[in-house]
């Protein structure tokens, strides 16, 4: 019998870099790819920016610095941004909830 070519995974689990930030007494821990953590951070950052933009427009409106036409068009633009970010955050939330299905905690935002 000749040796057959064996399929090797691209990166073996033992070549992983594991960043452990748990404490000894944490009784339920989760291991996530760092990409996911970075995604969450990026989405949060996007939501913060969207919220700040909305805050600025609301401020202009209450200070009477916008005519009602201006307020109306700014509102339309910001509305698009708010909807888009709500959708993106919703997807991120789904991803977290999927990871958490096995945990002792319940799903969030259902």
């Amino acid at each position: 019998m000749t040796a057959s070519i064996q399929k090797a995974p691209i990166s073996k689990p033992n070549q992983r870099k594991v960043i452990d930030i748990t404490e000894l007494d944490d009784n339920e821990v989760i291991v996530l790819p760092t990409d996911m953590l970075s995604d969450i951070a990026c989405h949060m950052n996007g939501a913060i920016n969207a919220l700040n933009d909305i805050g600025n427009i609301l401020y202009l409106i209450q200070q009477d610095e916008l005519s009602s036409r201006q307020a109306s068009s700014m509102a339309r633009l910001t509305n698009d941004a708010a909807e888009r970010w709500a959708m993106l955050l919703g997807h991120q939330l789904d991803a977290i909830n999927e990871a958490m299905t096995e945990s002792k905690f319940e799903k969030v935002g259902e």
């Binding site: 821990v29 989760i30 996530l32 509102a75 339309r76 955050l89």
Partner: protein, 194 residues
């Protein structure tokens, strides 16, 4: 030539017979300082056999005693047998790592992973969920403004009210983002939103 891969490593470490001797690189248990497994090394500063538990460094002798006058050693080789005996003697309330529930969401080709408390991720989920609600509310409100369903004084009043909510949520998310960034500094990714 076929060469079957067979590892014949002996994973069973024989239980140490007295007197136990320790050397750098040994994995040891020390129930006095904690219930983890620690690795011995030679401390460059003093040339003594040492190990680190938490933030403290402990010196030890090659016979496992802290001082020459000690009657018995305070460290033990990390073997399944020793672990069992120590667990029985010093069973503590804190759950040991083996009693942890581990949720693995990674796939085989993830080359960098982070191990964290599950409630940490849940906090993120809670806050994202809150932000989704606020953004939805905002979008309804902005919808009312641009479709001309509110007169100017209503718009102003509602703008003032909603602004507090928006600012609070931006603040909450910011705090959460800072926490995430602390973890991200340890990874191959850079901080977000600086």
């Amino acid at each position: 030539m076929p060469n079957p891969i067979r590892t014949t490593s002996n994973t069973q470490t024989p239980t140490n017979s007295t007197p136990a001797t320790f050397k750098a690189g040994d994995a040891i248990l020390c129930p006095f300082v904690g219930n983890g497994s620690y690795q011995l090394f030679i401390d460059d500063e003093h040339g003594l056999l040492s190990f680190i538990a938490g933030v403290n460094k402990y010196h030890t002798r090659a016979d496992g005693k802290q001082c020459p006058n000690d009657k018995s050693p305070s460290i033990f080789h990390d073997t399944p047998a020793n672990r069992q005996i120590i667990d029985a003697l010093y069973s503590q309330n804190t759950p040991k790592p083996s009693q942890r529930k581990l949720i693995d969401t990674t796939s085989a080709d993830d080359d960098e992973v982070v191990l964290l408390k599950s409630s940490k991720i849940l906090n993120n989920a809670d806050e994202l969920s809150g932000a989704v609600d606020v953004l939805d509310d905002m979008s309804s409100f902005l919808g009312l403004i641009y479709s001309g369903k509110l007169d100017q004084s209503d718009t102003k009043a509602l703008a003032r009210l909603t602004q507090t909510t928006v600012d609070t949520w931006a603040e909450i998310l910011n705090t959460q983002l800072e926490r995430l960034n602390e973890v991200l500094t340890l990874t191959k990714f850079i901080k977000v939103g600086e």
